[in-house]
C-alpha cells in the first residue's frame, strides 16, 4: 500500500534529521564555553585528575575528530559518561526518561480527554453561556505559564488541601514496583501492586495537570472550531437527512473528521511536552529528563547534553511519526490519496 511507502519515507527522513541533529547538538555542546572536565571535578580537583578526564573526553582534539569518536562510541552502544551523575549517560537516560514519559503521557491524556470534551461541549453549545465560559477559561488557561499553574497547584494542594502529594513519584513508605518499563503506574499494574499504582497516580496528578493545562485548552479551541466548521459541511446535513439520529450525527459523523486537526496538534504539543517539562519537574522534584537536561547543560556535561538532546529529538521524531500514523488511520484521505507526478 501507499502507506508503507509513506512510512519508509518518513523514517528515512527521520534518520537524516537525527544525523543533522547530532551534528547541531554536538556543535552546541562543544561551543558552550568553559572546561567540562574542570566543571565536572570541581575547582579543587587536582590538575592531574582534570587532565586525565580531558584526555578521556578527547577534549584536546579537533571537533571533527571528537565527533568521529562520539559516533564510533555511539555505535558501540556507549553514549559516554555523565559528569553530573558520574555514571554512563545511558543509565541516566534509562532512569530519567521513563519518569518524563510517564508525566508526559498523563499530561497527554489530560490534554486529549479534557481538551476534546471541552471542545465538543463548546461547539455543541456554541454562542451560549457554556461556550463563552469555556472559552474564557480557555483563554486564561492558555495565557497562564505552566510554572505559574504549577506553583498555584503546589500551594493550594500542598498547603490547604493536602489531597495530592507534591514531590517525587512515590511516597516514602510505598515500595516501588520492580522496574520493567520504568513507568511506575504501568509497572505496578503489571506486578499487581495496587498500592503503588494509586500512590503513583496521585503523585502524577499535579505535575501532569500543570503541564497539560495550556495544551488542554488549545485542543479545546481547535476541536471547537473544527467541529463548527465541519458542521456546515454537506455530509453532516446529509447524514441528518438520511434519518440518522442527532447523537450519532454529532458523535460519529461530525466528531471523527473534526478531531483530526486536534490529534495533529495534540501530537506536536505532546512531543514538545518532554522538553518543556523542566520547570514543572523542578517544582515537583520530578526526577525527569527535562530537568536533567537543564542540569547537565548548566554543568557543561557534554556527553549528557548530547545524549539528552538526541534522545528527546528521537522521542519527538517518533511521536510525530506515530501521530502521522494515527492521523492517517483517522483520515483515509492521507492514507489513500495518490501523490502523482
Amino acid at each position: 500500500m501507499n502507506f508503507s511507502r509513506f512510512l519508509t519515507r518518513r523514517l528515512g527522513y527521520s534518520i537524516f534529521v537525527l544525523i543533522g541533529l547530532s551534528i547541531v547538538v554536538f556543535i552546541i555542546a562543544r561551543m558552550v564555553p568553559g572546561d567540562p572536565a574542570r566543571a565536572a571535578l570541581g575547582p579543587r580537583a587536582s590538575q592531574e585528575a582534570v587532565d586525565k578526564l580531558r584526555d578521556k573526553l578527547h577534549l584536546d582534539e579537533s571537533l571533527v575528530v571528537q565527533y568521529a569518536y562520539w559516533i564510533k562510541s555511539v555505535f558501540q552502544g556507549d553514549l559516554g559518561e555523565s559528569l553530573l551523575t558520574r555514571r554512563p549517560v545511558i543509565e541516566d537516560i534509562k532512569e530519567f526518561l521513563p519518569a518524563t514519559l510517564e508525566l508526559a503521557l498523563f499530561s497527554g491524556l489530560f490534554m486529549a480527554f479534557f481538551g476534546i470534551l471541552l471542545g465538543i461541549l463548546s461547539a455543541r453549545h456554541s454562542n451560549t453561556w457554556i461556550d463563552n465560559l469555556i472559552r474564557i477559561f480557555a483563554y486564561i488557561g492558555i495565557a497562564t505559564p505552566a510554572f505559574v499553574v504549577a506553583i498555584i497547584l503546589l500551594l493550594v494542594f500542598g498547603m490547604y488541601y493536602q489531597v495530592f502529594p507534591t514531590i517525587g513519584r512515590l511516597s516514602q513508605w510505598v515500595d516501588a514496583p520492580t522496574k520493567i518499563t520504568g513507568l511506575i503506574t504501568l509497572d505496578s499494574l503489571l506486578t499487581g501492586n495496587l498500592t503503588a499504582f494509586f500512590d503513583a497516580l496521585k503523585h502524577l496528578m499535579l505535575p501532569a495537570f500543570s503541564l497539560a493545562l495550556g495544551g488542554m485548552f488549545q485542543e479545546a479551541r481547535i476541536t471547537r472550531s473544527s467541529m463548527l466548521e465541519n458542521s456546515k459541511k454537506d455530509y453532516v446535513s446529509a447524514a441528518r437527512s438520511y434519518g440518522i439520529p442527532e447523537r450519532t450525527v454529532i458523535f460519529k459523523y461530525l466528531f471523527k473528521p473534526s478531531i483530526i486537526p486536534t490529534v495533529s496538534i495534540l501530537g506536536l504539543d505532546f512531543a514538545s511536552l518532554m522538553g518543556n517539562a523542566f520547570l514543572v519537574e523542578l517544582l515537583f522534584n520530578w526526577p525527569g529528563i527535562s530537568r536533567y537536561g537543564i542540569n547537565v547543560m548548566l554543568r557543561k556535561d557534554v556527553d549528557a547534553i548530547i545524549a539528552v538532546i538526541m534522545v528527546l529529538g528521537i522521542v519527538f521524531t517518533l511521536i510525530n511519526i506515530i501521530v502521522d500514523i494515527i492521523v492517517a488511520y483517522l483520515d483515509p484521505r492521507i492514507r489513500l490519496v495518490e501523490r502523482g507526478d
Binding site: N2, R5, E338, G340, D341
Partner: protein, 320 residues
C-alpha cells in the same frame, strides 16, 4: 492555411504508485488561425492533460508540439517569454484561477507589464481597454474576485488571457461550472473576439450541444486517445464511432427537433475503465454496443473515412 498549433503523437504518462497512468496516448491534431477545435470527452479522458501539456505545465512523455512550426515540447519553465505571450489558457474553475488577494486591476496589469505592449500608453488605460473588451465596467478594477459573480470572474480570466494578444487560447471547460445564461454570454463574447482577432481556440468541454454551435471541428477523446475527429457539421450528422453515438444519444435536449437528430437511444453502460489498467485492444470495447471479436485483441488505427473525418474503430477500418 498554416496550422498555428500542430500536435503530433503526443504522449503524457504519469507514474503513480498504482502503476503508470497513460493519460494521453498518441494524440494528434492541429488548429489553424481563427479556428475552434472542440475537444470533447468524458471526465478523466485526458482532455486537461492535453491542454496542460500544450501549455507546458506538464513535460510531455513523447511526441511533438509544434507552435507555428517550432517544437515547444518543453516544460513552461524552459519556454521563452515571447512564446508564453502567444499561448494562453483559461481554466475551468473561475473561482480558483484568479488570485483572491489581488484586485482585478493588479491581475490584469501583470500580463501587460510582462509583455510590455505599448508600455508608454499607461497601464491603467490598457487595463481599461481590456476590461471593455469583455464588457466589464471600469469600476471593477478596484474589486476583488470574491465580489464578482462566477461569469464575471471567467470574463476577467478571459481578459487576462487576451491581454498578451496571443494567437492561440486553450479553453479548458471555461463554462461548465456556470449556468446556461452566463455560459451563453461568455461563449458569445469568445466568438466575437475570435472573429475580431483571428484567434485559434482549443476548446475543451463535455457539452456536445455547445460544440455543435461553436466548434469548426470536433475531436472526441476516450481514455487518452482521440477516437473520432471531424468538421462539426459532419460530426453531428454522421457520427461513426460507437462511443460518439452513445455520447450524442445521451445528450439531454430541450426540443423535439433536436431529439430527431439524436441517433437511436444507445443506453450507456459500464464505468469508464481505470487509466492504469487499460483494456486490451480497443479501449472502448467493454462498453461498446457493436463489439466484435477483434475488438479486445487489437487496437484500431486511425482511418480517414471522409476527407477530414477520422475514426479509430474496427467497424470502419479498411482491414475489416
Amino acid at each position: 492555411m498554416n496550422a498555428v498549433l500542430e500536435v503530433k503523437k503526443l504522449k503524457k504518462y504519469f507514474s503513480t504508485t498504482k502503476g503508470i497512468v497513460k493519460a494521453v496516448n498518441d494524440v494528434s491534431f492541429n488548429i489553424t488561425p481563427g479556428e475552434t477545435l472542440g475537444l470533447v470527452g468524458e471526465s478523466g479522458s485526458g482532455k486537461s492533460t492535453v491542454a496542460y501539456t500544450v501549455m507546458g505545465l506538464y513535460q510531455p512523455s513523447g511526441g511533438q508540439i509544434l507552435f507555428q512550426g517550432q517544437d515547444i515540447a518543453l516544460s513552461h519553465h524552459k519556454r521563452k517569454r515571447v512564446l508564453k505571450k502567444e499561448l494562453q489558457i483559461v481554466f475551468q474553475d473561475p473561482g480558483s484561477s484568479l488570485n483572491p488577494r489581488q484586485t482585478i486591476e493588479n491581475i490584469l496589469t501583470l500580463p501587460i507589464r510582462l509583455h510590455d505592449m505599448d508600455y508608454k500608453k499607461g497601464i491603467a488605460e490598457k487595463v481599461q481597454e481590456i476590461l471593455s473588451l469583455v464588457e466589464l465596467p471600469v469600476e471593477y478594477m478596484e474589486k476583488y474576485p470574491r465580489s464578482l459573480g462566477g461569469g464575471e470572474k471567467q470574463m476577467v480570466a478571459i481578459a487576462r488571457a487576451l491581454a498578451t494578444n496571443p494567437s492561440l487560447i486553450v479553453l479548458d471547460e471555461p463554462t461548465s461550472a456556470l449556468d446556461v445564461s452566463i455560459q451563453a454570454k461568455i461563449i458569445h463574447k469568445l466568438i466575437e473576439i475570435q472573429q475580431e482577432k483571428n484567434l485559434g481556440y482549443l476548446f475543451i468541454t463535455h457539452d456536445l450541444s455547445l460544440m455543435r454551435n461553436i466548434a469548426h471541428r470536433v475531436a472526441i477523446m476516450y481514455l487518452g486517445r482521440i477516437v473520432e475527429i471531424a468538421p462539426a457539421q459532419q460530426f453531428f450528422e454522421t457520427p461513426y464511432h460507437p462511443y460518439t453515438r452513445m455520447l450524442i444519444s445521451s445528450i439531454p435536449v430541450v426540443s423535439s427537433e433536436e431529439e430527431k437528430l439524436k441517433p437511436g437511444k444507445i443506453p450507456s453502460t459500464g464505468e469508464i475503465p481505470s487509466p492504469v489498467n487499460m483494456p486490451a485492444g480497443c479501449v472502448f470495447h467493454p462498453r461498446c454496443a457493436n463489439r466484435m471479436p477483434i475488438c479486445d485483441q487489437e487496437e484500431p488505427t486511425d482511418f480517414e473515412i471522409k476527407p477530414g473525418h477520422w475514426v479509430k474503430c474496427h467497424l470502419w477500418s479498411p482491414k475489416k
